[in-house]
């Protein structure tokens, strides 16, 4: 297997055994990016010199006998993470050329642990999208079929791992933006419980929904990444003080005897037959492993999409008010007065999807409509959360599809916003309830496109999801396949 398709766990062993150095490993990934990224488009910015200097520092630590999981491991970061001294754009014209003065906590924790930053990854503009097509700068292609999208909004985070352009990456997930691209690109993606990972230094989209999480080649790698980034951060007022368990240690606990809930509302019409077949096969696999699978109900599932498309744009309209052309970012040089500075900079700086959501969000918060839309959506959000609370009295985790379809073609859904929004029907409820969700590869279509299932867990019970995911990967080998790219 080519070096850049090895897992994090495997690189850890080889670095410790001095089979190769961190600098050699970083060079291998940088070479891979140079050879492939013109066609795939995962990266918005590659920081070659910084990566090599970080790799040199990692080699020094390795020479002193240090052996922590992320030491010398090359990673990529979605361009939503502020990185001091390294351009950060959120894939938007309004932040083109912006260089942050500080680094996001989650990114800093990885760097302090010795990870090597290869570069910043492409995404949908301000994380609004499900295909990475709203990026101002470029499209990213699915390494399994270059005519198809990688998913979104963390498209570059998924495509880079799938194509061997980094060992692992960080993405963010507000309505499915880690899990859906992970599923469409055949890699593992985790959205942790809300509050598990700090949002400090992560450009905000919808503050009650956004979460940071890893995209990796295996569930084991995911556990290793999570161990480094999870945990309380005083800079984030929504960060939770719940203790961080040893995720790696609990991976190998036997899955036999755990109880899975299969919600009937997630298996109705509108799902591609190959998706349904692959997820049902995964359920049978768990059954064969001694995991009990029982039918459950989440009655308000069908209302989650509407709830999300009121709450998320509302929160976004507030969060994006800071882009005003005054303190940073794009400013229209022709603006003649304050009103024009604001209006022209924002209108020219934001793309159509962002504009659409700001308008929608402003409308549902405006006087006379706040109760009918925003407050109503918040009440339904409570009902969605209660559905999960009830089901979790009887089961340890819930198994569902991730995306209703495999990767679709570039341009296929861009003319109809609602069609695009439907990509997230199975992932959105998890963000509404603040629960953890893990996407695990479970097969391929007839045309070699990846398929995956989702595990949803109790608050702060990522350990059980990782345990279940790891058990599945011990019994199957979907995650070992690589694109022909």
């Amino acid at each position: 297997m080519s070096l850049t398709f090895e897992t994090l766990a495997s690189h850890r062993r080889h670095l410790d055994q001095k089979k190769y150095s961190a600098v050699e490993l970083a060079k291998a990934y940088l070479d891979r990016i140079a050879a492939t990224d013109e066609r795939i488009g995962s990266y918005l910015h590659v920081c070659r010199e910084i990566a090599l200097s970080q790799a040199t520092a990692a080699d020094e630590r390795l020479a002193r006998g240090e052996s922590t999981p992320l030491l010398g491991i090359p990673i990529g970061l979605k361009d939503i993470f502020l990185t001091q001294g390294i351009p950060t754009t959120c894939a938007s014209h309004i932040l083109e050329g912006y260089v942050p003065p500080y680094t996001a906590t989650s990114a800093q924790r990885l760097l302090d642990a010795g990870a090597v930053l290869l570069g910043k990854l492409n995404m949908d503009e301000f994380a609004m999208g499900s295909s990475t097509e709203t990026s101002y700068f470029k499209k990213t292609r699915n390494p399994w079929d270059l005519e198809r999208i990688p998913g979104g909004s963390s498209g570059g985070s998924a495509s880079s791992v799938a194509a061997g352009q980094c060992v692992a990456s960080l993405g963010t997930d507000t309505g499915g933006s880690i899990r859906q691209p992970a599923a469409l690109c055949g890699v593992v993606g985790l959205k942790p419980t809300y509050g598990r990972v700090s949002r400090y230094g992560v450009i905000a989209f919808a503050s009650s929904l956004d979460q940071v999480g890893p995209l990796t080649r295996t569930v084991e790698d995911c556990a290793l990444m999570l161990s480094v980034i999870a945990g309380y951060d005083g800079h984030d007022s929504t960060s939770n003080t719940a203790p961080v368990p040893d995720y790696a240690a609990s991976l190998t606990k036997p899955a036999k005897g755990l109880r899975l809930g299969i919600p009937k509302e997630y298996f109705g019409s509108g799902i591609d037959p190959e998706v349904k077949a692959a997820v049902e096969a995964a359920i049978k696999q768990y059954d064969a492993m001694g995991v009990t699978c029982e039918a459950v109900s989440l009655p308000h599932t069908d209302y989650a999409l509407s709830t999300y498309y009121i709450i998320a744009p509302a929160e976004a309209s507030s969060n994006l008010a800071r882009y005003d052309g005054i303190r940073f970012g794009f400013r229209d040089p022709e603006a003649k007065n304050l009103r024009e500075v604001y209006e022209h900079s924002r209108t020219k700086g934001f793309g159509p999807e962002v504009t659409r959501r700001i308008i929608l969000g402003t409308y549902v918060l405006s006087a006379g409509y706040y109760d009918a839309y925003y407050l109503k959506a918040q009440r339904v959000r409570t009902l969605i959360k209660r559905d999960f609370d009830t089901v979790f009295e009887k089961v340890d985790a819930i198994l569902t599809p991730v995306s209703p379809t495999p990767a679709f073609k570039l341009g296929e859904k861009t003319s109809d916003p609602l069609q695009m929004y439907l990509s997230d029907i199975f992932t959105i409820p998890v963000n509404m309830a603040g629960l953890p969700g893990l996407s695990v590869p479970c097969g391929f279509t007839q045309t070699n496109l990846p398929l995956a299932f989702q595990l949803i867990g109790k608050p702060f019970d990522e350990a059980t999801l990782l345990q279940l995911g790891h058990a599945y990967q011990q019994a199957t080998d979907w995650h070992t396949r690589t694109p022909l790219f």
Partner: protein
């Protein structure tokens, strides 16, 4: 509830944006399409259901009531981010006259 082009212009102004005339129709019809879909929430009786603003932690973590002043160099760096170099004066960002 149907939203008109006029409504969209007013909302855009609230958000300090200015949609070009040629794009108003598109945004208006898309907004109506989305609002039409989210109307399904009205099928639910939520009179006795409390609103959920977000996932709230059971404990509030407080810090020491002490100021932490940023280093002068950090302040310099932040001011240097202003889109135009003539938009900074001392420790302040300058803006066009607010009240005319």
């Amino acid at each position: 509830m149907t939203v008109t082009k006029n409504d969209v212009q007013k909302i855009a102004h609230l958000a300090r944006m200015d949609i070009p005339e040629g794009q108003l129709d598109k945004y208006t019809s898309e907004l109506n399409q989305i609002l039409g879909h989210v109307d399904d929430l009205n099928r639910l009786d939520t009179r006795d259901v409390p609103p959920m603003a977000g996932v709230v932690s059971k404990t509030t973590t407080l810090r020491e009531d002490a100021t932490v002043d940023p280093a002068p160099a950090f302040l310099e760096e932040v001011l240097a981010k202003a889109p135009q170099t003539d938009r900074v004066e001392g420790d302040f960002f300058t803006v066009p006259q607010v009240i005319e």
